[in-house]
């Protein structure tokens, strides 16, 4: 059996488009997966849908589809993506519109839904994960609840031979695992095999993070041509082992380091990686470099999938106001520290603080201590510093006052402040709970474009 060739077209919502086009054109792929949905992205998508029922899908959906559909249709590459975000059905229609615009005559789009479990969350009082509270503690603030669907939800779409499978919330590696299960006929309880397929998905889901991105440290780890880093693809065998590689002539590198770094990325216990389809065991994974940019991977395994599915709950959690101002040249740090001290005095004085007294905040100097606090921060004199004040507020008006306080440092603070920016954002925080599989009903709708004679 020839290997199944599956590529990664995006590792997050804003990822580059050109490497995916390259994969679609030259990759000889069976499937190309775009993973574009993180906690924050789905929160923003839900907010867009709340104000416009026709919105709520990924903001780059049209641009990506315009770029990759022609080559994918021409080369018979199945597109699988969670760019449906908060509105997969609307996204499916958008894909058809783009196809029409491009003059594509036939296209089958499968829309997978069932991840929206807000009605369930509104009437059940499940405990929150990593918290002593339960879902009811979010009453009045809860705005969305999406569970992570697994590969099983995608199988009907793939069996229907859709050109494009578009979903909302699906466990990231399941987007890759589903076509492997179907192609190789892996049973839904073949845990060791599913564990190996899970690993392939996990290695690919962050796109360039396995092919040379996010690794370079000049003089220590040098990486060629990151301006045109190639996105990865896997050549997967029936036993689930795979070769991770990228297209010739692209930048970056696939090697032992790039693969191990991605293997462990955001995994907690490597023997117990909880996912919707299988609990992965990555502890015995082995990599071997077959040739430049070709790494063979095997040795993953797995155990029975969890009985319940993870649900992410988004809830309104006030506002965040932020202001920044820069100081440069000799004494920049001292002036930045004076500016911080002025702000602290004002925040402490209820008569001066515009309601900001007593609120949780961070006041720091970018270039000195903003990342890791005073213990790890720089003790050298930086050429420039950027003051940053961020405050957790209950109202939008309070949050606006934060940036105004920083801006007022122009005329009222130390010498030479410049480049003020202000921002206010509503905080949609995330909590997690578990839903029984029996309460989740995945669904697949087929949309067809069929024009011409």
């Amino acid at each position: 059996m020839t290997p199944y060739r599956i590529g990664s077209g995006a590792g997050y919502a804003g990822d580059r488009i050109d490497p995916a086009v390259d994969l679609a054109e030259r990759g000889e792929l069976d499937a190309l997966v775009f993973e574009c949905l993180a906690e924050r992205t789905i929160a923003l998508a839900q907010l867009r849908r709340a104000t416009n029922p026709a919105a709520g899908y990924d903001l780059m959906l049209k641009a990506r589809m315009r770029a990759v559909l022609p080559a994918c249709v021409r080369n018979g590459v199945t597109i699988i993506t969670n760019m449906g975000a908060a509105n997969p059905m609307a996204a499916g229609q958008v894909v058809l519109d783009v196809a029409r615009e491009l003059g594509i005559q036939r296209l089958r789009v499968a829309v997978v839904t069932g991840d929206d479990v807000l009605p369930w969350a509104q009437v059940h009082n499940a405990p929150l994960i990593d918290s002593s509270d339960s879902v009811r503690s979010l009453d009045g603030r809860l705005i969305w609840a999406n569970d992570y669907l697994g590969a099983d939800a995608l199988l009907p779409a793939l069996r229907a031979e859709a050109n494009v499978v578009i979903t909302g919330r699906v466990a990231d590696p399941s987007l890759f695992l589903a076509p492997l299960m179907l192609h190789f006929g892996w049973a839904a309880d073949d845990w060791p095999r599913l564990g190996q397929g899970l690993l392939v998905g996990h290695l690919l889901e962050c796109a360039a993070q396995v092919s040379g991105g996010y690794l370079a440290d000049p003089g220590h780890v040098d990486m060629p041509d990151l301006h045109r880093v190639g996105f990865p693809l896997a050549e997967v065998s029936a036993d689930g082992s795979a070769v991770i590689t990228k297209l010739p002539g692209t930048g970056g590198r696939v090697d032992r380091l790039s693969c191990i770094a991605q293997l462990l990325y955001e995994v907690e216990d490597p023997t117990n990686y909880l996912q919707a389809d299988v609990v992965g065991d990555f502890s015995q994974v082995r990599f071997s470099q077959l040739a430049p940019d070709r790494v063979h991977v095997h040795g993953a395994s797995g155990h029975a999938r969890p009985e319940q599915l993870k649900v992410t709950l988004g809830y309104r959690d006030g506002f965040m106001g932020e202001g920044q101002i820069s100081y440069a040249g000799p004494g920049a740090r001292a002036r930045g520290e004076l500016a911080l001290s002025i702000l602290r005095h004002r925040l402490q004085d209820a008569k001066l603080s515009h309601g900001l007294t007593g609120l949780e905040h961070r006041a720091e100097l970018i270039g000195v201590n903003a990342m890791h606090g005073p213990q790890l921060g720089a003790d050298r004199e930086p050429y420039e510093v950027r003051l940053r004040l961020a405050v957790r507020c209950s109202t939008c008006a309070q949050a606006e006052a934060v940036g105004q306080e920083v801006e007022a440092l122009y005329l009222n603070g130390p010498a030479g402040g410049g480049g003020v920016t202000q921002s206010v954002r509503e905080v949609i925080a995330a909590a997690s709970t578990l839903v029984p599989r029996s309460s989740v009903r995945p669904r697949c709708d087929i949309l067809e474009l069929h024009t011409g004679h």
Binding site: A43, L215, D217, L257, L264, P270, Q284
Partner: protein, 110 residues
């Protein structure tokens, strides 16, 4: 493939022999340290104890630190609890994901 261990006399910090990558999982940060040469794994295991990593991130990581060892890969892996100011969606931090934590650890002297 199997390169010999590095001569450490010319090496100063962890950055000279390893890379690090961190990420987020709710309010927990994950941090992996991988030896550039797999044979240097024993140095990582000896240097990077849970206590040492926790002390390095004092004031940043509020909770315990748990270590997983992967000698066959030349890697040690940490889960740091209560490390992300409540997690990426509500944190006030500029680097809400804790992505920069990995680099901070590379400054540890050998």
């Amino acid at each position: 493939m199997s390169m010999p261990p590095t001569d450490l006399t010319a090496k100063r910090t962890l950055r000279d022999i390893a890379i690090a990558r961190s990420g987020d999982k709710g309010n927990r940060a994950t941090l992996s340290v991988i030896a550039l040469v797999a044979a240097d794994y024993p140095v990582l295991e000896r240097l990077l104890t849970e206590e040492r990593v926790r002390a390095h991130f004092a004031g940043v990581v509020q909770g315990p630190v748990q270590r997983y060892t992967l000698p066959h890969l030349g890697a040690v892996h940490f889960v740091m609890f209560d490390a992300l100011d409540g997690g990426v969606t509500r944190s006030l931090a500029l680097d809400a994901h804790g992505k920069t934590l990995g680099s901070a650890l590379l400054d540890l002297p050998l």
